[in-house]
Symmetry: D2
Amino acid sequence: MIKVAIVGGTGYTGVELLRLLVQHPQVELAVITSRGEAGRPVSDLFPSLSGRLDLAFREVDVRALATCDVVFFATPNGVAMQQVPTLLDAGARVIDLAADFRLRDPAVWERWYGMPHACPQFLEEAVYGLPELNRERIAGARLIANPGCYPTAVTLGLLPLLEAGLVDPGELVADCKSGVSGAGRHARADLSFCETNENFKAYGVFAHRHQPEIVQNLGTVTTGAALDLTFVPHLLPLNRGIHATLYARLHAGAATDLQALYESRYRDEPFVRVLSAGSHPQLSEVRAGNDCAIAVHVSGKRVVVLSVIDNLVKGAAGQAIQNMNLMFGLDETLGLRQPALAP
Amino acid sequence: MIKVAIVGGTGYTGVELLRLLVQHPQVELAVITSRGEAGRPVSDLFPSLSGRLDLAFREVDVRALATCDVVFFATPNGVAMQQVPTLLDAGARVIDLAADFRLRDPAVWERWYGMPHACPQFLEEAVYGLPELNRERIAGARLIANPGCYPTAVTLGLLPLLEAGLVDPGELVADCKSGVSGAGRHARADLSFCETNENFKAYGVFAHRHQPEIVQNLGTVTTGAALDLTFVPHLLPLNRGIHATLYARLHAGAATDLQALYESRYRDEPFVRVLSAGSHPQLSEVRAGNDCAIAVHVSGKRVVVLSVIDNLVKGAAGQAIQNMNLMFGLDETLGLRQPALAP
Amino acid sequence: MIKVAIVGGTGYTGVELLRLLVQHPQVELAVITSRGEAGRPVSDLFPSLSGRLDLAFREVDVRALATCDVVFFATPNGVAMQQVPTLLDAGARVIDLAADFRLRDPAVWERWYGMPHACPQFLEEAVYGLPELNRERIAGARLIANPGCYPTAVTLGLLPLLEAGLVDPGELVADCKSGVSGAGRHARADLSFCETNENFKAYGVFAHRHQPEIVQNLGTVTTGAALDLTFVPHLLPLNRGIHATLYARLHAGAATDLQALYESRYRDEPFVRVLSAGSHPQLSEVRAGNDCAIAVHVSGKRVVVLSVIDNLVKGAAGQAIQNMNLMFGLDETLGLRQPALAP
Amino acid sequence: MIKVAIVGGTGYTGVELLRLLVQHPQVELAVITSRGEAGRPVSDLFPSLSGRLDLAFREVDVRALATCDVVFFATPNGVAMQQVPTLLDAGARVIDLAADFRLRDPAVWERWYGMPHACPQFLEEAVYGLPELNRERIAGARLIANPGCYPTAVTLGLLPLLEAGLVDPGELVADCKSGVSGAGRHARADLSFCETNENFKAYGVFAHRHQPEIVQNLGTVTTGAALDLTFVPHLLPLNRGIHATLYARLHAGAATDLQALYESRYRDEPFVRVLSAGSHPQLSEVRAGNDCAIAVHVSGKRVVVLSVIDNLVKGAAGQAIQNMNLMFGLDETLGLRQPALAP
């Protein structure tokens, strides 16, 4: 059994980790911390876990964390980096679901996240936890930077095109739509029901922190011209799900059997599903599951790729567990085979 | 033209008053106050009013208010009662959309609202602004207690039965469901989208402040046994609307042509619509309109009445304007004839 | 392994059975039938099952069904009763998720369902599959009438009160609200998104077929006065969940520690959770799970019980699997321990 | 008073026309036709109009229509073109809310709409009813092709850029999201509540009929390189609204004070609102109103324009009435000044 701790278990990412980990056959949930809720039974805050989990939130205690095999950080940005050096020293492995270790360049990180990085020396060691890109390195890692939700959907959607060098990397558009849980569990007027329901809007045009993360991911497989990706996120009036609509231009003379390319690229991936030609994936087919469903459309030089995930599963907690499985030599799909919930 | 002030225009009741008043042909909107937003253009906070209203929020200034013909209070409970004496003295009329003047007995008011009443001497003078019950008194009033949203739907639904003395007043049930706007415009975690969407729950069982208001309303027309009404409110995952499902028992031997009774009772009411026998009114047929739609069902001794309103219109701002029309001798329906919005 | 067939797998109850059964460790899904979709891969109709289930729909073939250990009917009313005699003869067990075997009196059944019953001789043998009421008989049954969704929520909510003889059985009200999936998977204008979203209404007042089923259930534990229950269902704008708000009157002199009564009654029930006093259960705490969460409120002689389930799980497919577990001597909770999905 | 007929008044466009026309001070609603609902009171089908409109649906009778000043067609594609010649001959004017007269080239029309055109000789005369583009021609027109909902939002969003020749017309992307009412009022399984709610998907990639309409609109103001616009529509889980996210590339050396450009272009437009720099328009600020709200964002060579409308108002019925006002010499805003509905 893998002894697991979760730091910061009171947000949506935290409760989703709990939902999935209580179903995982090789996990023993040992510690769940929360500064604000210490002492309170977890199922009191999250009645959805009643009868399924008999633990209470605790104060953060690094010694207790250090006795665990793996520590998940489901905290705001800037928390994990304070504790990672100590935990790694003590022999624990760390999976950070926030952004502290996602960008390799400390200067870029500090510019986008607006604070100094507490342990830039670990940015090099940290492995970006997208199994479809870094499976082998994940298996040997002590420290995982779990990908952002938008970057997961966008990277998986564009990866085959850029790896194959088929499209102009200077002309990419990622129009992304996220359910409200992606904004976290907060008391914010602009996230209140009446402001969000029956409503839709873009936000953070040219200013969202997932932009450099996507560019970094795609940059690792891009050759030739510089990457230029326009990324616009939007807020969908629903709880869960990300839909990325991706636009690219084929190079002159590029072969266009993109359907075969995608099917081949993802043939052995347990959680990426390439739909048949002409399909339109929908959020409901990945809701509460760890799948990414992708469809690719071509017309002349124009390519449109549609990529959907559940932001809390493949976009956060599920992918974190997939990474844990790889790190501990387990079947990558363990605890993650539940079908999507429809309707 | 009626010169109008609104105190506390930043909540959902406030913006709904504005939406309706800018369409009212006899109203001049003179003053809108907000402590927190003073100086800010109203259409900046409420872009739905852009191009339709060129006013900015102001600090509360009783002298400015006193120059208006009528002052609407769209404030939390306990605010209007601080200013009513001064305003009435100055010759303004007041319509309070909060609860300060809804209960006639100061002791009952203080028990339910948990504070001393600032001007109990006005509770007697204040007229409860349900035109279907108090039309004539409203026309002569200086001070209107605009009804609560639940009490409006429940009172209109049960009134004919109790006036006619047909049902046992000791066995009433009001199972009510409200859209989220009824809870106001707040940054509250429990009203955030993800907590409310795809969700439904009761709240405040046996403890909601609209209970004594309903009992007071129905008590004015009840004879015989004491009123005993069980009231349970619930939170619906939608923006607007109240649906009251009302249960009563016919007295032994009571005549049962309730359809005719309801049609006759409301024949001349411009905003109460009795549906044909066997109907089920739905929220969409009153959304954004000032109507109350009612259907009555009977089986043996059991009566079920279904009553729906838009909580922000007939349950708040629309009814307040209906009261204003009556107070100023205008056609009662002026500015309130817009059809409901469907879909 | 239990060899399982599902007849009529194309509705929401069907896909929910599939979602749960593919996660059940003792089940082999052998046959799924559909007249309209025969030959089509199940995951083509239900992409939420892609990669989780590799079966195609087949024509109904009683011989193939008869080779299975248990046949679930997720069909419209009137289908199971055509095939039950043959299947039982062949040694298969049957769980009917429709209403064919729910009412014991054939005359009552025929009046409410508007057709002759094809095998009334089995109504006596059929066991009503509410484990909290009939656990032992279910374990020995060949034929299970799986309860309706409303009757499950209402019966579990009122059972302790009536068993203990504390309330007047002639004064019961069940005000129930259901998500839209309860109406099935259909192309109906009145169930289209724009007609249902941002809307709410009652339907079938005094005319819903779950009324006699509830009365039959409660009648088995009621003594003294005749049962008189007013049942009003409503349609909620959400996918899953039933909320029952139940009203009763305590007998004069009845003890009122109802909290202790409920806790004691359901202490050993794996899927019924009695919330602490003063609580309000919400749909999100049972979404996609097999739990029923109940809270009881008392004020004077008035009792309000709040009872919530997921209509597709405890109200249909989950309860059917719970019954299967009992019939085959398995741990009753096998395959049904997933936590609820929140948000 | 303008005597108005509506052909095909039973869809969402029809009821929206009715909602707005009953509030129009210069309109007399004379005839509403429906083959399927002839004889039925309009308010029976649309209870939202109860008490506001006392008309019944009639069979289509061209002679009755011909006595009206203007006939609105709120019919499926292919209906208006059957009757337009007769009506124009009789002296009536026609506003077609379907697509029969939107494309000038009959061959293009027939390819996209899959049927022969019944009166191609009128395609030349028909005026495309986008007042911001064709105000003067609309004023003199007998026959208006009322724009599609997506083309309205996209054209208004891109018009200033293309008129000014600032962007590469060969690199345009229009990622559009529409509420469900845009799909019409139908009994379709894929538009049922449970299939649409909590869901989101693209549809009709490279195959939507609004693509050639947008290209035709923009083509009239484009010089230089050929237009190449990738258009992807998506289905939002809400009733009303279109959000267009538009992507373009500035020409090398193009001036970039796009904010000033947009403000100048739309300064005198009563229904186009250019938001301040950095804004993100949301659907709720145009819900039920006739406004288009636009924001423009620039970063380097990349431009993102956000454009929102209510698909049933500015995208259909409201714009049709705006056209009617222009055709009859009225104030263009008459009957269309209601603020948006929020929340």
